[in-house]
């Protein structure tokens, strides 16, 4: 037993000596390679906003009137106004007769350095207060890529850096408003609650 322990001690001691020796030898044959560098984060911006024309322009810092919405049939509605301020587009339209329709043209400028695409769209339902004739249910709106209101705006819509994109808001009073005998017509003006739609643009991959 004593001889066996002595052997183990000897082996361990030999191993320690060998490893230390290897370390010394390795240290004796080494080279330090240096890689020095600098990196620059270039100036850039992310800036998507509403603008006044298809050719773009600076970001409106104060409320700026937009061209009135296109009304159809001609003369059937009394007004259709719109304004923009940075990232907010505000519209107001009035309707009277079935099939009255307003089409707003909306311009989005990408003034930043990154391409952008639509990542999310919300179009809440229209609500009214005190709507005794259910006229509110005959009002409709949506966001489209064409003025005819055929193709809905979706997340394939992109605006590349420096470009301006165009889409449309179409709102109308449907052709069943009022009923056949006019009993569903409102006897005093009915204004909807605010309709807060949103379109979120996100950097493309």
């Amino acid at each position: 037993m004593t001889r066996q322990r002595g052997t183990v001690v000897a082996i361990i001691a030999a191993l320690v000596v060998a490893v230390v020796s290897l370390g010394v030898a390795f240290a004796a044959f080494s080279t330090q390679l240096n890689i020095n560098g600098t990196a620059t984060v270039q100036a850039s911006s992310w800036d998507v906003f509403f603008t006044t024309a298809s050719t773009g322009g600076s970001k409106p810092e104060s409320s700026t009137n937009m061209p009135s919405g296109t009304i159809s049939p001609s003369g059937s509605t009394s007004n259709a106004t719109a304004s923009i301020l940075a990232t907010t587009f505000t519209w107001s339209a009035s309707f009277k007769a079935p099939n009255d329709k307003v089409v707003y043209t909306i311009y989005v400028k990408n003034g930043g350095d990154y391409n952008a695409k639509v990542s999310n769209i919300t179009t809440p339902a229209i609500t009214c207060t005190g709507d005794t004739k259910s006229a509110c249910t005959h009002l409709h709106y949506g966001l489209y890529t064409d003025s005819a209101g055929t193709n809905e705006l979706d997340n394939t819509f992109t605006v590349n850096a420096g470009n301006t994109g165009t889409f449309y808001l179409v709102a109308y009073l449907d052709n069943t408003y009022g009923g056949n005998d006019g009993s569903g017509l409102v006897s005093s003006n009915l204004t909807t609650n605010n309709i807060p739609a949103t379109v979120t643009f996100e950097q493309t991959n």
Partner: protein, 222 residues
Amino acid sequence: LTFNSIRFILIIGGFNMERHRGGTFIIAITLVISVIGIGIAFAAFSTQLNINGAATVESSSWNIYFTTSNNGTAAGTSGVSVTPTATNTGGYTVTSSGTGTLKTASFTWNGSFKTPGDKLQYSFYVCNKGSYNAKINNTITPSVSCTKGGENETTVCGKINYGLYYEAAKTNAVSKNDTLTANQCRQIFVIAELETTLGQASLPDANVTVNPVNISITYQQY
């Protein structure tokens, strides 16, 4: 260096192995969180554009009715009497007579004729006091039919004519697509007559009663 001490060293080494595994695990978790963090930072690179709007449905009404006078009020549901003008187009003594009752959306008349050329002319107005222009979408003017009263009934029945016109002279008949713009009233004449061509041989030997003639005029927004 005892056997037990070597066992102790090996055991400690085992613990070190466990600690080493724990460290590797922590590094892996950190990397995962970092990757997710980069993803979140990328997704946050966005702008929400707000589109606020409000729409107004303006007050309006659809209100077309019959009335006895130009720009008058609706005749109502009880009805008002309309007396026809009786003449004879053949120059004979007038032997016709009739009554009429006008309501907001209906006109009912009765007439009797005796002499060829007898004519009854009722006059009233249709007004559009609603917000929308209107036009006639459809008119139904059934042919005259009679209840058999005696000989020559068929011949007599075929000689009774009626129509709706905008003038007493029967220049323009009330027809499909005629317009009635908002706030407009138009005079309407209901003219019924027994033709002068009814010969002596065709005179009825008993009263010929004309069955009810239900005329309808449908106005539609345009």
